[in-house]
């Protein structure tokens, strides 16, 4: 951790979530995320990763504790005020969660719902500036030509790009990313992760990324937080994530291959950089 903390965009304190079934999903989680900081949240299935990021935008109602976005308390907000805060947090989902029967453009524009009145959104009369921004972002992720295709006609990687555009359309300060690559093949996974990282850098966005794949997390995140049974058991830069830390998070296992693989993957990526054309184009635009 750096000595001088950057201004926090998100502060989670003493967060507890107990489901009606009695399961304690989060026990006293404290987390502080600085402006522009990209944090990977790792941990075994059921550790509470998904619950944690859903507590931030209150898709899941926390039992107790505090969530502050830019200093403003999010827990306990009324529905109107909550919607206003949700606009500042873009969310990217595991199974893309696109509105399958609507077009790519409509899905992108749905990121502006929080800023648009009901009837305007009903008749798809979004402000010209929003439509223009959607085109710009779709172009940025390489999907401009797909604008009028239905979302269910797209491949997995393309859908996740639309999901990213939707989140960015909110002009958020924070991205909540829930297992963005769990349904994608390894190559597409890396492309998507890199895209998210690039966009975060371009826009100075902070992000919490839930991720299963430890190698991906080490490769892309600036900071890694390990969650086990609803509590944070590791918090530090990727380099300090050693076998002992992984054992603390996941339990006993021979971690040498996993730790090695992370470095190997990075090397492979270096080669990829020159061969994947759309990455070049993306870099050029940035």
């Amino acid at each position: 951790m750096p000595e001088v903390l950057p201004a926090a965009v998100l502060e989670v304190a003493c967060l507890v979530k107990r489901y009606p079934t009695g399961d304690l999903a989060l026990r006293d989680v404290n987390l502080r995320i600085g402006r522009g900081e990209v944090v990977a949240l790792i941990g075994p299935s059921g550790a509470g990763k998904s619950t944690l990021i859903r507590c931030v935008n209150r898709l899941v109602q926390p039992t107790s504790g505090s969530v502050r976005l830019d200093g403003a308390e999010v827990t306990g907000l009324g529905s109107t005020a909550l919607r206003r805060e949700r606009r500042r947090m873009g969310m990217i989902f595991q199974e893309y969660a696109l509105i399958e029967r609507l077009t790519v453009m409509e899905n992108a524009l749905s990121g502006r719902l929080g800023y648009t009145g009901f009837w305007r959104s009903w008749f798809r009369r979004f402000p010209q500036a929003d439509v223009a921004e959607a085109f710009a972002l779709l172009d940025r992720v390489g999907l401009k030509e797909m604008a009028n295709k239905r979302a269910d006609a797209l491949s997995g990687g393309q859908r996740q790009r639309v999901g990213i555009v939707r989140a960015l359309m909110q002009r958020p300060e924070l991205l909540l990313v829930d297992e963005p690559t769990a349904s994608l093949d390894p190559k597409t996974s890396r492309q998507i992760m890199r895209l998210i990282l690039e966009l975060c850098t371009e826009r100075g966005l902070a992000a919490i990324i839930n991720i299963h794949d430890v190698a991906l997390a080490r490769q892309f995140a600036q900071r890694i937080v390990g969650l086990r049974a609803g509590a944070i058991v590791f918090d530090g830069p990727p380099d300090s994530l050693d076998a002992a830390a992984l054992t603390a998070i996941y339990g006993d296992e021979d971690w040498s291959a996993t730790l090695g693989q992370g470095r190997k993957a990075t090397d492979e990526e270096e080669e990829h950089h020159s061969t994947v054309p759309d990455v070049e184009r993306l870099a050029g635009l940035a």
Binding site: R124, A129, V131, A132, A134, F135, A136
Partner: protein, 275 residues
Amino acid sequence: MSASHATSNPYAAQAAGWRPPPLIGSRALRWALLLGGLAWFVAALVTMEINWARAAEGWQRGARFLAAFVPPDFVSKWDDIAEGLLESVMMTVVSTVLGLVLSVPVAVGAARNLAPRPVYLLCRAVLVVSRTFQEVLIAILFVAMFGFGPLAGTLTLAFATIGFVGKLLAEDIEATDPAQLEAMRATGGSWLQGLAWGILPQVKPRLLGLSLYRVDINFRESAVLGIVGAGGIGATLNTSLDRYEFDTAAAILLLIILIVMACEYASGVIRRAAL
């Protein structure tokens, strides 16, 4: 953001050109459907002869009718109500059983994978006739043939049951896995054994579901057949409405709703227990 400002011009032009995709692709067809629909709507409303003065009176009567539900009068016509309901229930039982017994062979005959062509066509014809005409129309004919009373109603419902269960069951039989029937035939079983072991286990859940659903439908239908003299609670209801005895009518309607709810609940329980 300033960088994208410079490049926002091409996007702005594109944005201005973007329209939400229409439901119907062809412009001509879209307009034709819209105008045609509108023309039909206006024509339908204009040609519908509505006696507005009489309809306006309806508010008062409607209010009176609703008021009759609190409290409904179960007492003063109870004997008629009980007799009518009991008759409806009995018609339901007999017609469902009779209809099911008959619909199974018809369904087998109407299944393309089991029946020879002439049998198939005959059974399909029976199903089409049964499904085309509303129960009440059949009841009118049956009353003319068998005379007034619950028998005409029972036969009507049994006939309608054949059409309903027969068609859906035939579709289910056609969708069965042919390998299972083949396997039973391969063991040397007879044609009937083939049905019982190769087909029946596959369609049994559907058959049970359809039967239970049909009990429900038959009861609801039995409540109207009385209007044309084919027995059941309908006659009592018709009389009470004719005489403006709304509180008795309310009682009957509530009882019908209650019995249907009970049927639905029971069928849910049976389905869970049997499957």
